[in-house]
Subunit: 430 residues, 2 copies
Amino acid sequence: MPHVIIIGGGFGGLAAARALADAELEITLLDRSNHHLFQPLLYQVATAGLSAPAISAPIRSILAGQRNVTSLMAAVSSIDKERQVVCLENGSEINYDYLIVAAGSTHSYFGRDDWAVLAPGLKTLEDAFTIRSRILMAFEYAERESDPARRLEWLTFTVIGAGATGVEMAGTLIEIARHTLKGEFRRIDPQQARVVLLEGSERVLGAYPSDLSEKAAQQLRKLGVDVRTGSRVTDIAVDCVRYANQDGEQRLASRTVIWSAGVAASPLGKALNTPLDRAGRVIVQSDLSLPQHPELFVIGDLAAALSEGKPVPGVSPAAKQMGSVAARNILNRIAGKAPEDFVYRDYGALATIGRKAAVAMVGKFKFSGYPAWLFWLFVHVYFLIGFRNRLLVMSDWAWAYLTFKRSARVISGSIDGKLGKPEEGSREDK
Amino acid sequence: MPHVIIIGGGFGGLAAARALADAELEITLLDRSNHHLFQPLLYQVATAGLSAPAISAPIRSILAGQRNVTSLMAAVSSIDKERQVVCLENGSEINYDYLIVAAGSTHSYFGRDDWAVLAPGLKTLEDAFTIRSRILMAFEYAERESDPARRLEWLTFTVIGAGATGVEMAGTLIEIARHTLKGEFRRIDPQQARVVLLEGSERVLGAYPSDLSEKAAQQLRKLGVDVRTGSRVTDIAVDCVRYANQDGEQRLASRTVIWSAGVAASPLGKALNTPLDRAGRVIVQSDLSLPQHPELFVIGDLAAALSEGKPVPGVSPAAKQMGSVAARNILNRIAGKAPEDFVYRDYGALATIGRKAAVAMVGKFKFSGYPAWLFWLFVHVYFLIGFRNRLLVMSDWAWAYLTFKRSARVISGSIDGKLGKPEEGSREDK
């Protein structure tokens, strides 16, 4: 029986595996982590609104009923596309007849990897826990601080990059400060906290039409976010962010910085020894395979694919669609049929901003505010994997909506060291 | 206004703070972590049944409505009882008029602290995450392992110590192997996993009457746990546990070991410079204060207290009761009244073993099996802090009970390093 390896259990990899459910082949799905992550809601884990289990489920549990899939928790160290072999982190090798690489993307700091420690990005559950702990600890440190200037540094939160994630983070952070923590502190007033959203370009949500960008900026400002577009970050330190705008070099005193400015393709792209685009994504053919390698497909955020001549965006519906097409093209090849071209069906775009605030674009319809937010809520709960998680998330949200409370305000670890991953310690100027 | 410092936001510390709600004094509650933990259910987090937020709530959130309390997330480095000063981890000092030390307990490895890395104990959320990740990873490694002997090592789980926590862990581990993971693996059969419970003394649940111990051992064996009493651990290595029983030295090949054999009082006891008992607990007077220091109280697991001449057990009801008495004795002193003696009201004892299995003792009544399990469920859900958590836990349990699934099977981190805290790496023989 032909052996298919799928690398990555995200939206693309899972869709590919499912599309092969009834096929006469053996599938091995490899992922570095044990869970599929519903990434669109990861910012809720980072902002203490949801627990990690609410948005993640074991990959092997999701695929338990599909008998032709073996799930392995394993990291891929290299791919030899001539020998058709995938090498794992422990040195072992697995042969394949067909390979689907769906390894996704990671943060990019544009060559300033030293910023990673100071301004964590949001891709994995680990990232979300780091950010959650930074946010909650900032208020704790502020409560203990007697120097007013330093206290202000602790109470200033900076989000870099006003794409969908940056906008969600900024909108939720201001809700935490203004509502969730109200009345819980004795020395500081959390409502005095500032959330600054820095964006290098001239508008927020740059991938959206400019009228929706404008609506989003308005809604953010109404919630209380300090939106600063045309502000290009030049340096990040423990106690401040420096950026340049039309008035020159600026310094923003802030001790909690979240990075949502850049995305880079998984380093596995390089391992394929094939042309990449500027963002490190693998340039694929119209059937999503590599040139000269009709048995090797790259999909999702790692693929630089074109659909009818236009670049396909790095969003989860695109990854799912690519997963199905790559799977079907494997079946086509086995059956000796011609492969089909990938055509992206764009269902629109949707970004939440905060309580009752969102922007949406469905076909030609654009809307914003409360209706867009309700639509966002519905879509996200609907697509969450697993009946039970959906219920859990809904009950968490209903509760959060009614009470302004957030259910996951837990920092695991203690202040005297166990919290102290090296990067945490280094934030403290000691 | 008199200033009361409470160290520790566990059952004892919180009870003390609440008992002082209407008093004309200023209270500062210090805790190293940001949350109160419902420790009786911590084993459920360690065994992937509950998420961390389901059993923990921010201390400042619990006490938000009590205006005379300031909560600070801070670690106490020392106490100067002559100057009446508490020193924090950052070097700052806080003066007090009254002090309640409720710093709890930690694991004890009986002088073999090197075992801590190989056999984690269960006290904090961090501990629970470590154990959860070890358990889930063991099955993942077993699925990847081709050598049958090594595979068996990965599929053998050892719990050391058959007190309440050890019995709960063993009973839940066998349920995971026999039911939860059923059908999710392709190369191993998780039902082949073995759970071995090692106990140095002659019976499980040594603090219970011997007929209940017998019932508990029977129920454990019925669930499938390999109960080995009279088995004193002599060494722990990466791939095995060595123990001595009546037949001599034994070697048990096992790569996942959980420690629930020993408890030691918080090291803060030593910082008080006052007589301790053998377990490091502070010997307190009948009013829970220290000799010559009527302003300083020690309560909960850290206190070696007597009630009508009998030692008080280290359980949460005792901690809560001590918290109230210490608080009242502060009010008595302020009012110039004589302090009251601590008298422990024993409501009984209750240990769960696994699905439909438990033992209970309420006054003179002893019962076991399904009725005891239902009683245990009711009591634990009832006492969980916060209306919402209670609902969450109940829905998680109802779901788990009906489907045998566990909702929190998430390992945060990936197999290629981010999981790799040093102690994890060292488990891999590399």
